[in-house]
């Protein structure tokens, strides 16, 4: 079962930790995965996969009323050798990495006009990242992006989301044998934006996939990073960092499906919350199927609640169908930066703002260092500072 505790011990606990009761990933969804939006009932909010999400703030993405009336400015910086194509949904690469698991993902799939396919040819080792800048200019947009990474290729992909708008768009990764991919998705939206996305990564034999999801902005952000393996030796690392401010809803729902033997996964998501009605949701599902002998997996979610009025729901869930594994574990903890800690630091001459900074920096530092992309690490540290400045 899940291990959940409140650290550090304080007089009061500001965050809430919810730990899943017995449940299975497959049965608690309202409908099986499908590309057709009509296969999903319109959610009413009490379904397991919707119960944390404020449906009324989805701007109609969940009930079919959202129409593609908006604009998003897209800029792709592709290093030499990388190709960028615009294709229709008949293209065999589109939808190959995974099938939509909820109504909004299916809505996005059913509604986009053209998909973008970005290809890194086999054995090509990129020295510069592929950068995709998406700047919302208001209104609703749908999209679909496929990153097709050839065998033994190495690539860093950075997707940036800024501006305002309602965005439902899925991202697929087809990762060839032995390829190494780092994917960074930054949600730095204006505080009015709505963003829902399913990230599907399908890893080839001995492929390495590192996903870094960074969520700062948005009124409502709901992401589904998902990983599956097609051959042994796959290694997935899913890192996440969120800073949830007053009034924001940021939800990350992960699934790692160990369906073949001898693969690894490591999930680390950390979030800081501050302000009234700041709400972070983290769902971490890891499945170890009967065939997946030799699996090694660990998932962890840590939250730091900086002020009263913020709420965290953290639900780690591990299902194991074989005992022949190297290791499997999970942990979730929500700590509160409390008055006693603040007093201790201030009693050593450290001003309040500096004390908060010290604690938050310390909380995120280790995670940021694991990203391995220098300019992203720096940007994150700057961004964390900005979030803190804006708060106190």
């Amino acid at each position: 079962m899940a291990e959940a505790q409140n650290i550090p011990a304080g007089a009061t606990a500001g965050g809430a930790v919810a730990v899943a009761a017995e449940s299975t990933v497959a049965t608690r969804m309202s409908a099986p995965p499908s590309f057709d939006v009509a296969d999903f009932p319109v959610p009413h909010g009490r379904e397991e996969e919707w119960r944390f999400t404020p449906l009324e703030r989805l701007k109609g993405l969940h009930d079919g009323t959202a129409k593609a009336d908006g604009a998003i400015k897209a800029q792709v910086d592709a290093p030499e050798g990388v190709t960028v194509e615009s294709v229709t949904r008949d293209d065999e690469r589109v939808g190959k990495a995974g099938t939509p698991v909820d109504r909004i993902a299916a809505q996005a799939y059913s509604s986009f006009e053209k998909a973008t396919v970005i290809t890194v040819p086999k054995e090509s080792v990129l020295t510069e990242p592929v950068r995709v800048l998406l700047h919302g200019e208001g209104g609703t947009t749908f999209g679909h992006t496929v990153f097709d990474i050839g065998a033994f290729a190495e690539a860093v992909i950075v997707v940036d989301h800024t501006g305002d708008g309602v965005r439902a768009a899925n991202v697929d990764f087809l990762i060839g044998d032995g390829a190494k991919v780092t994917f960074v998705s930054v949600q730095d939206w204006d505080d009015t934006a709505v963003h829902c996305s399913q990230h599907n990564a399908k890893l080839g034999r001995d492929a390495t996939f590192k996903s870094v999801v960074v969520t700062f902005g948005g009124d409502l952000v709901r992401l589904h990073p998902r990983v599956e393996y097609t051959g042994p030796g796959g290694d997935a690392e899913l890192l996440g960092l969120y800073f949830t401010d007053a009034g924001q809803h940021q939800e990350h729902r992960l699934l790692v499906d160990h369906n073949v033997p001898n693969c690894k996964s490591n999930v680390v998501y950390k979030g800081a919350l501050q302000g009234e009605q700041a709400h972070a949701v983290w769902i971490g599902d890891v499945l170890i199927e009967a065939a997946a002998e030799g699996t090694e997996t660990y998932e962890m979610n840590r939250n730091l609640v900086l002020t009263d009025g913020a709420r965290v729901d953290s639900v780690p869930n591990l299902e194991i169908e074989t005992g022949e594994i190297v290791g499997a574990g999970h942990a979730s903890a929500t700590g509160r930066f409390d008055d006693e800690q603040l007093f201790y630091l201030m009693a050593r001459g450290i001003p309040q703002i500096e004390a908060r900074r010290l604690v938050v920096r310390g909380f995120f530092a280790e995670l940021v260092q694991q990203i391995g992309v220098a300019d992203i690490e720096e940007r994150l540290l700057v961004k964390i500072e900005e979030e803190l400045e804006a708060s106190v």
Binding site: I7, A9, G335, F343, Y344, A347, G349, I350, P351, Q352
Partner: protein
Amino acid sequence: MATLEINDLHVTVEAENGPREILKGVDLTIKQGETHAVMGPNGSGKSTLAYSLAGHPKYTITGGTVTLDGEDVLEMEVDERARAGVFLAMQYPVEVPGVSVSNFLRTSATAIRGEAPKLRTWVKEVKEAMERLQMDPAFAERNVNEGFSGGEKKRHEILQLELLKPKIAILDETDSGLDVDALRVVSEGVNRVRESGEVGTLLITHYTRILRYIKPDFVHVFANGRIAESGGAELADQLEAEGYDKYVKGGAAV
């Protein structure tokens, strides 16, 4: 010469049935270079005095004054008091996850000294101070008070005392929970700071044991929210022999 002057200090805390007065008119003057031991039974208000001087938000000052060289301490924020030269070594130092001891010490020293200490001399300064307190160097990379033993927490408090060099040091039951070896090491640390002659020390304790290592100039018996009796070091010997009974039974004497 720095002087901390406490005048008719009244303090309350919020209790279940409304505010409860803990300090009922404390008068005490501590000058740089002096060591005052405040001794008293459990629940007499000793720790409340310590935390009120440092500015803990749990305590409400309802009357009296506290000044440091004429400056109103009660008007200052917690961090301002520390920068003005008031240091509280806590009985129960709190854990601060994610913040390493070395980062914490440097941030604190920077705040207290008004500028960042030069890295080279600072590293040496910390290393030597830790050696004197018989602390493992690996300590510096651990998170503040996280998983520290009782003795480690107290050494860490005294390490800060040595590095921050306050004008007034308040030691709240620094001796509690220490074995004899740790008590000796911690006391030696306090004595090094006292020997500089630049600190006024307020040593709050339940037991006379620590006074064998740290010789006070003045001893005050604390009972029922105020100082019941003051004297020299010989008062501690009397307490050792007779206990607190005469101050507790039938209310405070004097």
